[in-house]
């Protein structure tokens, strides 16, 4: 047991990682008297699917919000691709290749699925008001290319039959798939998924895992929060365990599952 712990500790050291896409150093955030993130330090290596687990209230979602720019940290640093993005706006963080999804699927009322997909691509010429009137050709060209790409990705996700359905009329699980597909249109280097499998039925959950694996093979790095242990242990390596706002340990799924500290944290006691 102690050997395993040692090994895990070695892997925890973020400085030993070579090609780091996300580095979090000594990150702190508190809401009033509640310390949500307590000197968290970890790194995500390029080309991995890194899992982020921890008991309820461990501060996983807060950490996501801090990393993606939705919250401003009280202290510490966030680096994406070697650039300091601490305290930047979410859109600026996204410019550095980090895209996130949300725990509850966000509904785009009044849009069809493929329309909702088209929000994904970044730096569309048609997002400039003046281009609409002075360069309509360029706008149309890119829109066409984006639509094609969106339809291809929907096909790869096997949900192309939903393309012209209203985006609010599909099931929760399908929404999760659409959300993942849309995030891919933004061509992220690092994709943060907040509980991708929550509320998704088992069949669709397997499909989702397959998709994440496939995208991972195509070169996207993932950091995902997940409560479903089977899902995360099958998919992620390494797994980071968060407890009370700080990083408890990091290691391969097997080591994490058998670690006494992790078990204690989940059972809720410093026995």
């Amino acid at each position: 047991m102690s050997e395993q712990t040692e090994a895990a500790r070695g892997a925890t050291d973020p400085d030993l990682k070579e090609d780091v896409v996300l580095r979090v150093e000594d990150l702190q955030k508190s809401f009033g008297a509640l310390t949500a993130t307590d000197h968290a330090t970890f790194a995500v290596e390029r080309g991995t699917i890194t899992g982020l687990i921890g008991p309820n209230g461990a501060g996983k979602s807060t950490l996501f919000n801090l990393v993606s720019g939705f919250y401003e940290p009280d202290g510490g640093r966030v680096e994406v691709n070697g650039t300091d993005v601490t305290g930047l706006e979410p859109y600026e963080v996204a410019d550095h290749g980090l895209i996130r999804t949300f725990q509850t699927p966000r509904k785009l009322e009044g849009m069809t699925v493929r329309e909702a997909m088209l929000v994904g691509p970044r730096e569309q010429p048609g997002e400039s008001f003046l281009n609409l009137f002075f360069r309509p050709g360029t706008v149309g060209e890119r829109e066409g290319a984006n639509l094609e790409k969106a339809e291809r990705i929907l096909e790869e996700f096997e949900i192309d039959h939903l393309a012209t359905q209203p985006a609010t009329q599909i099931s929760g699980g399908q929404m999760k798939l659409v959300e993942l597909a849309r995030a891919m249109l933004a061509e992220p280097e690092l994709l943060l998924l907040d509980e991708p499998a929550a509320g998704v039925n088992p069949t669709l959950r397997n499909k989702l895992a397959d998709q994440i694996r496939r995208l991972h093979e195509q070169g996207t790095t993932f950091l995902l929060i997940e409560h479903d242990m089977d899902f995360v242990m099958n998919l992620a390596d390494p797994v980071i365990v968060l407890d009370q706002g700080h990083v408890l340990m990091e290691g391969p799924p097997k080591a994490v599952q058998t670690d006494q500290r992790v078990i204690d944290a989940y059972l809720g006691g410093n026995v």
Partner: protein
Amino acid sequence: MGVLSDPKGYWADLTRAERGVVASVVAFAVLLLAGLLTGALSPTYFLFLVGIAGMYALLSFGLNSQWGFSGLINFSVAAFFGIGAYGTALMSADSSPIAGGYLPIVGLFVALAVAGVLALAIGIPTLRLRADYLAIASLGLAEVVRLVVLNERQLTNGSAGVRGIPQFFEGWPVLATLPQQMPGLVVRPFPGTELVLETPFWGALLNVAVVVAFVGVSYGILRRAHRSPWGRVLRTIRADEDLARALGKNTYAFKMQSFVLGSLIMALAGVFYAHLNLFVSPGDLDPVTTFYVWVAVILGGSGSNRGALFGGVVIVTIREGTRFLSGLSEFVLDLGVVALQFDLSFISSNVAPLRFLLIGVLIVVLMRYRPQGMLPPQRELIWPSVVDDPPSKLESGVRGVKAGESDE
């Protein structure tokens, strides 16, 4: 798929609500035409009404591009309208205490510039915050603008208002004197009715041409913007701003653009009004205008440009149509055997409250039976040249689904 080239196909392609709207619009037009031809409605007054309707359509467009597109709650429609009206009035009128004497076209640009600056000034502090802050700030702004106009006499003439505003085409080569040069015509569509078309009529016609141009240009711009990736980001912000931020959109900049654009269109309505009425006073900045325009946008269907157009016209119909009621004093229903006589003087003496009642009832009925408005956006909004197959019509309309209804 034009109405003229393929009327049957056009009709078949409409939803039930759209058919209802088309039918009532046609019926209303026939009614107006009948009124005109029988002499019940004076042609000059009719053209004035068309001008007012166009003005309301512009205001609705402006609000729609803020509330309908991005979900920005702006309660200072009347203020931006007033800025437009006073901007051009103070630049061009003889009685202007500050500038005066400039061409109306100069007034137009000055008014738009002032409105744009004011929109920026109110947007910079509030658009970074939650939606409700803009609502509160704009409510305050409307009062501030109104009170400044009322009290800064050395700038605005105060409660006396600004008189002597020229026609919009003042100083233009041909158009400036066109109404005077047109021959006076007398048309007799039926024996017994006589329509006199003289200088005031031609002047009013020219005004209508101005407003039609304003409305047309604004509609064209908004329609293109609505179907573009730009509009799509705005609609994403309206549905869920955090999602737009997570996907890397600078939502603050987008909201600012949408807010300024809407404010400019509202100011444009004000500019037109000043040159239509030739007199502006602080009373024109009455906050009730703001709420009329809100009703127009909600009635037409938030987010829909043609809905805003429709809503604007309906509001003018209610606003101006109720004026006719003041002439009513009694109504006699002659059933042959007995004649029932109704005393209607309570209506004629209460037209203003009645107008509010009508609008109130309209809103209640609308919210109960058609909360999405009469003409909500019905079809996919993708850049026109891209989707070659017109997207299959969505039976319920994309927007017409109650949230959560079909979840799981």
